[in-house]
């Protein structure tokens, strides 16, 4: 018997350069906030999503270390790692554990220490999300791949760099209202002029900031007092690099994972009124929106509303996205899911509709989608 799966509680720690906190302290903070907001939980399983604790914190078996630090005992303990999509991969893992009946209550904590080293070392570790024998070894970093795709995008659809810069401006505007966002300041339409180039044409303001964070969710088979149901999940994969694909500007795995999740939820994409997407670099925001099927190819920069942060009737990245909320790698999918969970519970406008989260590792190399709705 497949059981229904609910999110009952959640929390998020401010994303920042937490020089005073290691991964244990961050995970503990997320756990404490979850319990102080929603009451104590009794998980029988702990799932930790973290991308690079070996490189950044010299830690293997991080889930066991965190379980011990939180003084949680008699648990099934796992770490899920799928690069920068680890968070949503962890949600799919928790979903599977609960729906199968193997677990009754799963505490999922996404945690990452990113800002432990100089930028070049952080960039080196982040480059390991692709094929290390190919792009990694040659120094062909994710930023350079995003820059190349940005140029192909601008060339094919006739946009200027200034046209694309709408996205960071919008994300910063949204992040100002998000208490756990890393970059809570506004940009102007020409703020890029003072921003250093990381890989031309992309500037620092086109990339997610480096920051540490932890976010937690409690996922169970019981709806309890407050609950958002996970109505659908999906996942798919593609080549590690984008350029060997037939069309590097369409992330097939994003479409496939979203379609699978919609099918499982039994709804069309028009019922999704709010989505958090993976916008690690400016061009990826547009490519993802188009790959999801929310807008025609090449139309995303024209169709995104700067007033309402929406495409048609779907709100997008109210959190500020990876761009401005921040992107603590393995924790990001948990932040995204927590943000949609909070909005479904708190926004009357969303009470009768669905929320969604899209995550990916690299340029749609591996993709995950989750669809949720409020039930209590």
């Amino acid at each position: 018997m497949i059981r229904n799966v609910f999110i009952n509680a959640g929390s998020a720690v401010e994303i920042d350069r937490h020089f005073d906190k290691g991964f244990k302290a961050l995970a503990l903070e997320a756990f404490r906030r979850l319990e102080s907001s929603y009451g104590s939980v009794e998980p029988d399983t702990l799932v930790i999503s973290s991308m690079a604790p070996e490189s950044m914190s010299e830690q293997i078996g991080i889930a066991g270390v965190i379980a011990d630090h939180l003084a949680l005992r008699r648990l099934k303990v796992f770490r899920v790692e799928m690069g920068e999509a680890s968070g949503l991969a962890a949600i799919l893992t928790a979903y599977s554990l609960v729906s199968s009946g193997l677990s009754k209550g799963v505490l999922v904590i996404g945690v990452e220490k990113v800002s432990e080293y100089p930028v070049s070392l952080i960039a080196k570790v982040y480059s390991m999300i692709g094929d290390s024998d190919y792009t990694g070894l040659y120094g062909i970093s994710p930023a350079s791949e995003a820059a190349i795709l940005a140029k192909i995008y601008m060339d094919r659809y006739g946009y200027s760099y200034e046209d694309l810069f709408k996205w960071p401006v919008l994300m910063h505007k949204n992040a100002v209202k998000n208490p756990h966002a890393q970059l809570r300041f506004m940009l102007k339409s020409d703020s890029y002029k003072d921003s250093p180039i990381i890989s031309e044409p992309l500037r620092l303001l086109d990339a997610y900031p480096f920051g540490d964070g932890a976010s937690a969710l409690y996922i169970s088979s019981m709806p309890g007092d407050t609950a958002v149901e996970i109505s659908g999940v999906g996942s798919s994969n593609d080549s590690c690099d984008a350029i060997s694909r037939e069309d590097p500007l369409f992330f097939r795995s994003v479409r496939e994972s979203f379609d699978d999740a919609l099918r499982m939820a039994g709804i069309g994409r028009d019922r999704v009124k709010y989505i958090e997407i993976h916008d690690s670099y400016t061009p990826y925001a547009y490519i993802v929106l188009e790959s999801l099927g929310l807008v025609e190819r090449g139309d995303a920069p024209r169709k995104i509303s700067m007033e309402s942060s929406s495409i048609d009737t779907t709100y997008v990245n109210i959190s500020g996205g990876l761009k401005a909320r921040g992107h603590p790698w393995g924790a990001t999918g948990i932040y995204q899911t927590y943000e949609v969970f909070r909005s479904l519970l708190g926004e009357a406008e969303l009470s009768d509709s669905y929320g969604a989260v899209q995550s990916m590792n690299g340029p749609g190399s591996q993709s995950y989608s989750v669809i949720m709705r409020r039930v209590r």
């Binding site: 100089p118 094929d131 190919y134 120094g139 970093s141 350079s144 820059a147 890989s199 080549s239």
Partner: protein, 143 residues
């Protein structure tokens, strides 16, 4: 992080030449080489070695260079379309950034990738440089 001698030795055929896959079922060529076709899923693929001549399709100048590559900063990262009909990402060397043009002819060269301290391994691999006398448009129609 120290470089592993067995790893670099094991990778020699991929580091010192461009090995790609050619699908015998649908004719697609692709890089890196894989055990089955990324277009039609056929298992009937063979590994071939490229002659290393191609065209620069797109490029970016990377300033946020990962650790251990910083001697090379800024790096030019290009998309090269090899004459055998597939595309890959490659590092472009021996060119002033202002002289780079989309569509220019490039050729593979063996260059140093990284050095592991003063006593560790030096890893070499394939990069690309403009073909001497290369001009925009030259070689068009060759793939």
């Amino acid at each position: 992080m120290k470089d592993s001698a067995p790893r670099i030795w094991r990778m020699r055929n991929n580091l010192y030449r461009i090995r790609y896959s050619k699908c015998k079922a649908c004719g697609a060529s692709f890089y890196p080489a894989r055990a089955s076709c990324i277009r039609c899923s056929s298992r009937d693929v063979e590994v071939r070695v490229s002659l290393g001549l191609g065209t620069l399709v797109e490029y970016t100048v990377l300033y946020q260079v990962p650790a251990r590559m910083q001697d090379n900063a800024p790096m030019v990262i290009g998309v090269v379309r090899l004459d055998e009909g597939f595309e890959l990402y490659g590092v472009i060397v021996d060119a002033d950034i202002k002289d780079l043009r989309k569509g220019m002819r490039v050729e593979a060269v063996l260059r140093r990738l990284r050095v592991d301290g003063s006593s560790g391994l030096i890893t070499y691999g394939i990069k690309f440089r403009p073909v001497i006398g290369a001009a925009h448009g030259e070689g068009s129609g060759r793939g």
